[in-house]
């Protein structure tokens, strides 16, 4: 059971959170994005074996969505930030 650092509430047990997925994905501008860009946004995800930035919601806590950087192979926690924040040493974001 992971120990996740919520930037608002501090260290909390994984059971208080809900996982969503890749947080490097950004919703393209619906007015200008091509269909290929749009479908990329909906369906395609990188799958790195190593550090990964992901969305978790502190659903049993402050209800805030947070970004968590975690090594998906070793589960080592490498940092967290709030919904609009940045984690230090962020990996390169996927193109929109």
């Amino acid at each position: 059971m992971l120990l996740i650092n919520c930037p608002h509430c501090g260290d909390r047990a994984q059971t208080e959170f809900t996982y969503r997925g890749d947080a490097t994905v950004q919703r393209p501008d619906p007015a200008t994005a091509s269909q290929a860009q749009w479908l990329d946004y909906i369906y395609f995800r990188d799958n790195p074996c190593g550090p990964h930035i992901e969305w978790w919601q502190h659903s049993a806590g402050c209800r805030q969505w947070i970004k968590v950087k975690r090594n998906v192979q070793t589960h080592e926690m490498l940092g967290s930030a709030d919904a609009t924040g940045e984690i230090a040493d962020e990996i390169e974001e996927a193109p929109a």
Binding site: C9, E16, C62
Partner: protein
Amino acid sequence: MADIQRKSIQRRGALKQAAGQYPSISVNGLSITEYRPEIIVQINGATEPSALQLALSLTGFDTGQFAAGRFNAGRAYRCEDATVLWNGPGMWMLVCEISSQDSEVSGVVDELNAVLQDTDATVTDLSHSRTILAMQGENLLDFLYTGCPIDLDNCPPDSCFSTQFGHFNIILHLKDSQHANMYVYRSFGQALWDHCQHIVVTLPPNAARLQ
């Protein structure tokens, strides 16, 4: 919302109770009773201390005491008849008892909205949305640790956590290591009560700390 005389209408909470009796548990040194404040209001978007101060000016809080920046995450603040609990960034839950002098409670939400209209904060009435259990005992932490995964040792007084107690999502107001209020969604109220009764008998007798 029309003005109403709340005293003439009856509030019926989530816990089963025999007529005229309050449900209560007192086993192995831990006692649990229901706490029934009149008002619970959620204030959202109060990211500036001034918004919260404006809201609290309607209550018994001496807001002069709270200098800007004194409202800390993870804490609860109390005055004689009100408590304000931190729930998240800019999110505060105001819990008030109405003194018996007040025969009329009208439009609390509207008053708060009026006071906050120049800010980004909003107010939602949650007065009926929670069942609250008041707990006390020397073995309170042992009891809480049967379901709460947070480190509750050495907490500052009036710490406040939105967390879990077993499968229940709760707000835990830990006043000190022997007194706490546990807030749960009203629909879970009876289930939480039954759960507490189920757990409390497995605590060591004589209110002793484990080992």
